[in-house]
Subunit: 274 residues, 6 copies
């Protein structure tokens, strides 16, 4: 069960409201790199967690933290929208600076939300929940979570560079820090479970007789005019320690020509197809 206390997790101040930056900040709320995504992803993973209960607790505790991140980011968006123009004035229509600001802001921040945050990204596209990755496989889910936090910290770092506002920089520096921890926390779960080599391949429960092992360790070079790039992936022991990497150059197709023959009567095709 969830509870709420009335203060924000972290102090948010905005020295100079900036409607354009409000638009950019939306990516951290409703973007695929944003906080709604991680809050919901960890929440659904927690609800489906099977096995070690510590992982469920980790997931739920961090889902709860991410909800608090949505909250202070939402406040930051509203503060950046303070003072944004809500009526058009004659002088503004001719002022390129004002026009530029209006042009670069999200008009729905006024039209739809009345100067507050929305669950959309920096293009105004609403977040959709298909981005909540929760497979029931703890290895796949921990990688998904580390990925989400990597994207989140990339985003927060870019946002940091795009503002001069002291308050905004301070808030973003907090997010940059928490995303560092969260990246590590999910990868630490993999460590706790024996490390990457024990976890791979994901799922590690698939019986080997379900797998065409002769195809499990080569890099397929589908490039016609280049040698395969050489590196850790092209030779030496595989990361799971059970095979040896190799390269398959200029592969010939192994399958058939996929002809489906004629269309069936009554299937809605043209007569010429039958």
């Amino acid at each position: 069960m969830f509870h709420h206390s009335s203060k924000l997790q972290y102090t948010v101040t905005v020295d100079t409201p900036d409607p354009q930056f409000a638009k950019l900040l939306q990516q951290a709320i409703g973007g695929v790199e944003g906080e709604i995504r991680v809050a919901m992803q960890y929440f659904f993973q927690a609800m489906g967690a099977r096995g070690d209960d510590r992982i469920r607790d980790l997931l739920m505790a961090t889902a709860t933290e991410e909800l608090s991140h949505i909250e202070f980011l939402g406040h930051a968006v509203a503060l950046n929208l303070e003072g944004a123009p809500v009526t058009v004035q004659e002088e503004a229509a001719k002022d390129p600076v004002v026009n530029a600001i209006l042009g670069g802001a999200n008009p729905r921040h006024l039209l739809s939300s009345g100067l507050s945050a929305m669950p959309v990204n920096a293009n105004g596209v609403p977040f959709d929940m298909s981005h909540v990755y929760a497979t029931g496989n703890i290895g796949a889910d921990m990688l998904a979570n580390a990925t989400a936090e990597a994207g989140g910290r990339v985003l927060a770092s870019r946002l940091y560079n795009l503002t001069d506002d002291t308050g905004m920089k301070d808030m973003l520096s907090f997010l940059i820090a928490r995303d560092r921890m969260h990246q590590q926390q999910w990868l630490a779960v993999i460590e706790e479970l024996g490390g990457l080599s024990a976890s791979l391949p994901i799922p590690n429960s698939t019986p080997e007789n379900h797998e065409a092992m002769q195809h499990s360790y080569y890099f397929l070079n589908t490039l016609l005019d280049k040698e395969a790039p050489q590196g850790r992936w092209s030779s030496g022991p595989s990361l799971d320690g059970r095979g040896e990497f190799s390269v398959k150059q200029q592969p010939e197709p192994e399958g058939q020509v996929p002809s489906l023959g004629k269309a069936r009567p009554n299937s809605g095709a043209q007569t010429e197809q039958m």
Copy 2:
């Protein structure tokens, strides 16, 4: 530039066509765990790749392989739809077996595609390209790719269990194998770049003075009635070797109460809010 040869990458046979399994297979084509996603994700990452050109080649070569996976899966769906009923007959209407088959199949496999594959998932929801993760940060992207392949192999393993068809099992065993390789290949890129500890935190180019380092290494326990779960994430050196994990129990909010005050005139609020 892309090229095509007329044979499939891998032989596809279906011993007993099964429209219900055709519906399930769609998840491997148009699901978030499916082949359209990885093909497009690696393709867009390749187009935006900066730095070591080997990585761009790896990405493009594997994008190309994934396109070939879409192709043979699409053929598998069409073969499973061979013989599916296209007209209703009086006896069928009363036959629970036929009804069950029709009920469990995707009706759009007849209505919309005329007995062939569609770019949709097992619920008939079209794939949307917001799932193409390509950040321009090679660390974030490699984790995203390993995640995608983990989800893909989980899916292929589940599909393998849901069919008795020899041909389908053979095809899925090939996918299970390739997904093993692809998981490792992307993680091997991280190894090549110095390993996880060198890559973390992602992005590793963010200056430390952009980060509130005092918040970078603690697990925040937002659970009111439980101790924080203990593990690799709660104590000991951080994975990036630059800090020490700790736990922050029962946190007090650090921020303010986020009151926005009154609504502005002309902002479309109710009079009572002003």
Copy 3:
């Protein structure tokens, strides 16, 4: 800031797991009538609340409750999926009962989530955040909230009728009760603000000289072959007490024929349009 305690808000038991009912329950999680929607709607309204701080607190408190509803519904879905078939067996393939169950279940409950809840509706369509209605106008928002709870209670009542499971009926009877309270709570805010007649028209802050008042109180009967339906809406004082309802029969258009003339050169039209 949010917090979490480890127990569910309400006890959830399932006497007989039913994968088909798990699919139906998803509507209460990820449908437009579901709990993700209300949790997020109240949360975003709270973050944008201006004026009376009591309303912000009401919104945030109830957002927090709805998060707890997601949590126990998610558990209910997982319990209903216990024992669902994860492999196909020869006898099952021929058993119409098993086939019917599989046909009526959501295959992604196995394929994608590994037997747990997803943020999707009963058709497997993911929730998208465009359904979070938060206008910054408290009158519009309270109506939106009462609407959401009305839809929610309609849904819960229908679900109640579709299960014989004692545990599920008990859980749904709790939701039916909470939705009763929530409907009333949002409408009570309107009462607190002076009642409907004081709130209408929404927004009540729009100056009357922004409105073509001669068009404000008639029902427009666009039906060619019927008299306008008579009722509270067709005569008598308006609900806001500032006008008198009437009917405008068989209206003539007041506007012009909307001809746009020729297409401009270089606008990508056909030559014949220019």
Copy 4:
């Protein structure tokens, strides 16, 4: 059956075409607050209307009016796009005013529609029909309709403030008026059916033994650090006249810890979860 006459419902003129305002106006066509939504919502409610035929007629008549609103708004968008630049000129590339205009306009108004209206919102996001709320319950539907008209009038009022164009102000004043009527018309249906107290709870046909009535009338205060806000919702008779409002402070969870145990073999989980 529908019919059409060639003139617009209302005269539309634009004194000074403004591509930026064309973009804003799109919200009134293809936004969730817009005319496509209400036209389709009332149309689908009418098609599913059961009970009093007057309501079906009301719904269909107003659906028909809203189609006419789409039509004149579509014309308004096209008129605002008259004269928008379709080729780039050297001087424009350096002129910040022109650049600002181009930056603030929707480029798809040229690229995709050739200077005419599209079924998208002010961010260019297409309208999707999941926003058509039609439950088959007349109480829920009337609230949904009043909500839609409230959002619509908020939007029209904001748009009115964002233009100086006499023609556009005139057109918007007409929409502001019609939305006033439509808000009242749907609420008047509830009056006709006995008023809010008779309608609540929605659905009012759910038997009370389907409801855990002990949970039907308290406000749940999930806020840890604040008293529940006091008001019409916290004490006194409930709006449906069948109960008494109260507050439940600092609730303890009533449910269990939701542990799912181990993952099943063959379910695609990691070995460590089994």
Copy 5:
């Protein structure tokens, strides 16, 4: 301006209600081949029509007809849902026939709409307005319309084969007929404008010096292991009468290797990319 008369455009009867067929019929309402799409497509094309006013009238008249098609199809869905089970009974739970019917029906036809039509397709996916194609180019639009009607008649023909109900067959035979006319009507507009050869290439207003004409008439054979297929497209005069078709075999790329070099500082990339 639109008007409505109370009778359906065409008589709709259902001899034996069939909830599964109700689900299939939804494709004709809310599918990409359905009536909402054509109604809205012709409506938006009409609103943006420039040039010959007859075309605008054709578009608006047919948009209006398609609205009437939605209306009678919506009624057909509701009639097919008459008598669908709304409560579960003990015997039904064990009856495979009933289960098959429930499994094959759309549960949201009860849960969300209360036994009436929804603006969704046969998979329950809501229609989204991005499918409204209206380019402002009459040639492109007429092809798009003929395409939509072709898809519509394919769908209606398939639906016809999937029902034994006399009433449903009669209604579908009407749609099959109207779609024949509509296909021809849009292609007849192209005839009226001089025929295909005059219309091609679309847009026919693009100056030839904007086009790399040396690439305008060859079929590019990207197949590595096959000769190009021979036909009307590979030799002989082009359809626009301005060129000669040819085949370009085994093409060499004409472009460069697309290397982007290093990532920029402060761009959020990994250090190794810089």
Copy 6:
């Protein structure tokens, strides 16, 4: 099976990087008129092709070419983003030119992709695969393909007018040329199959006794105040040579008033509806 060679199909140069033009170019990648759409549409049509194998080869060869178009357009976007600002500087914040550029660019080109192409349109809306039209009917599919290429060439022509960059104009002139060929190539398939009159109506395999032929050849004039527009569509032989066009003026509805009666008990309606 697919293969790749390392050079682009066509040389791409950008003389002066322009982040605003990068945003516009996205329409040609991820718009409904763009290259992802045609690549995937032809690919899925090829996978489902039944009948003449030459058509399957045509489809697959051209799908492959379109993938190469995505590739060089993706490079063009990245080149236009070279030099775009990644940090804010004090002078920039006050410079209207810089602000205008930032306002008119897509912020996600930095925030999400790190200065490279994304699978989105010019509004930042991701491409969704519901736009892949592949019906299994070759007539419907060829029209859909000609439509897609018509939209594509309209778009490329408009983009050509919106840039002064020599390199971009050259690249677009290549696309304008290829789209000319592709339009003709798909229409040439219809010629090869006997021409339009033999193909119509689509599907031409529907038995005439499935069609209410008395409704197959009239234009329905639903306009109340205008004669039907006269033209090739209103009189003379039909395009399929099997009928004669006519006009049906001021039609009376042929159907019934669609009343559904009362709502059923337990269906979630209000008591007043029962």
